[in-house]
Symmetry: C2
Subunit: 342 residues, 2 copies
């Protein structure tokens, strides 16, 4: 492919026989240009294959044309769906959406954010479990930021959209309600995912408050499969009757392991997930999970952001959504003690 050398505004102006000022105004559809000139210039531009240089345009006008979305693990249904919904909303507003992945550690996160900040976007939606608060605060000093999925960051003075903290409690009550008193909870380090960290600590707190003993099983994502499997196995052998996971993919992984080991679910061990988006909510899997109202959350995130972009001052807003317990087939009553020998 022989690359076309970009035709610039100057080329369009010359070809149309007008000044660059007029060409610029015509192409931007300004009113103070004669209808005739406007369409003529537009035609010339189209025929020349002119594409406006957004960098230069943004730089000169000092008015951004895009909104940023930071997502980590787009392959996770929940974030992918958020991205999809946010896109729709941004489209409606006639702006562009630029997405970027978050970065795993703090330096990588800062680098990713600075790249976005340096492009001078109108605002930023951070929907990444993997995002440190300091990184978000850093970004927020430069442009409006909305955090989606985080729970307790009110202190930071950043707008948030999150799921009701009662969700974890509801989930725990469901598990306790089936008689489980010895429960495993999969964990994630706080610096890897604040969202997950808050989730599992809540699980732990509520479970203990309900009189259950809790076994923590670290789940660090890809790479620790063997360790995770072994820890899970040991927990089960030690008498755990239910496994609560902070996100659906982990729950599915647990289900697969149980299946592999020939351990019945929920006959012998119950399993719960969290998020309930996409295939994970399918009756085919039958996962007992907690469904977040993704669409509504995405809408709120964009609304909040656009309000700030529009200049809204006030204190940070925190939109809390209620989800719904999805009764699948993976949570059942704990096996009675006298069944243990069976």
């Amino acid at each position: 492919m022989n690359r076309r050398s970009m035709v610039g505004l100057t080329d369009v102006a010359r070809a149309a026989g007008v000044s660059r000022s007029t060409a610029s105004r015509a192409l931007r559809g300004e009113d103070r240009v004669s209808e005739e000139t406007r369409t003529y210039v537009a035609d010339i531009a189209a025929s020349l294959g002119y594409v406006r240089d957004r960098r230069a345009a943004d730089l000169a006008s000092n008015s951004p044309t895009a909104v940023g979305l930071v997502v980590r693990s787009a392959e996770r249904s929940f974030y992918g769906e958020i991205a999809s919904r946010v896109q729709d909303k941004i489209d409606d507003l006639g702006m562009d959406l630029l997405m970027a992945n978050g970065g795993d550690d703090h330096p990588a996160q800062m680098k990713a954010l600075d790249s976005l900040i340096g492009r001078h976007l109108a605002g930023l939606i951070i929907a990444s479990g993997r995002a440190s608060l300091p990184a978000a605060e850093h970004a927020a000093t430069f442009l409006p930021v909305v955090l989606v999925g985080f729970g307790s960051v009110s202190a930071a003075g950043i707008d948030t959209v999150s799921i009701d903290r009662a969700s974890e409690s509801i989930m725990v009550q469901a598990v306790l309600g089936e008689g489980h008193r010895h429960v495993a909870v999969t964990t994630a380090p706080a610096d890897a995912s604040l969202t997950l960290y808050e989730r599992w600590t809540s699980f732990e707190t509520f479970l203990q408050a309900g009189g259950a003993t809790v076994v923590l099983i670290p789940h660090e994502g890809i790479g620790d499969q063997g360790i995770f499997a072994q820890a899970l196995r040991e927990a089960i052998e030690d008498g755990v009757t239910a496994v609560m996971c902070g996100e659906d993919p982990t729950a599915v992984q647990v289900l697969e392991l149980l299946h592999e080991w020939g351990i019945a679910c929920p006959g012998e061990v119950s399993v719960t997930g969290f998020d309930g988006s996409g295939t994970f909510s399918s009756p085919l899997i039958g996962l007992t999970t907690f469904q977040q109202p993704v669409r509504q959350m995405a809408k709120d995130a964009v609304d909040l952001l656009m309000a700030r972009v529009g200049g809204l001052q006030g204190p940070a807003e925190h939109r809390v959504h209620e989800g719904e317990l999805l009764r699948g087939r993976t949570l059942g009553p704990v096996a009675r003690a006298d069944d243990e020998s069976a």
Copy 2:
């Protein structure tokens, strides 16, 4: 949050007592600056919270710092995983990755692409089933483009990474091998998804070549659920014994409908998918599908793109990958005629 007014290079230079030229060179880590000056300026910049304006930097240097990735439906496992892998590769190269969704119709696609082109990226990877060839060709006149997931676009002179066209044949042979001779194929319009279009037409061709009759069931995505379900139902009542889908989510949808209708799979009707990424390949679902080597495909896409970015001329390259038939539990032998009354 009171927004910080951006500190610019000029501020850094002044604070450091050097010229903007020197400040710029120091911050870019150029060699021709004294070690002392470099670290001093860097410290000042950090303390001032300086973030380089990428628009201005890119504009002035005429050397892009980011690569674009166009994905549609990031909530689909396959594209989400592609995005994730591409990100990793781009990170390794020290560049940024900017993602954008494709846009549904042609105008929207052009707009999305022009936004990316106008930001002068180093190159573009288009991994969107929803992307028209003309749109891709338009982009390719401006910057290096690699298409991933497309099959037969050799004519366009654009590099591609795709799955072996034999895949569809393998899938069809598996279905025929179980004795199915009356098969439904879910379809998608070419302008909505070239990838899917090529897939289902291949299915159709191979099935007919194998002596099977084919019923086409249009699947237009969200919104046509009712119509799709009805068409599927009718096809089954008309004697279809297998349903071949161009992508896993559709297959899952079919499985759910069958379940809802109390139709046994694969006892009465077999179902196959395509892609085999993420949860869709889980034994929990047991979907019979075709697994694409996503990771390898993403790597190839980035490699090809970076070669072009590096100036490689030559003709378009077409990397073809082989996938693997994933034998799940949703494809079984066709029920014998005398079983029909049962």
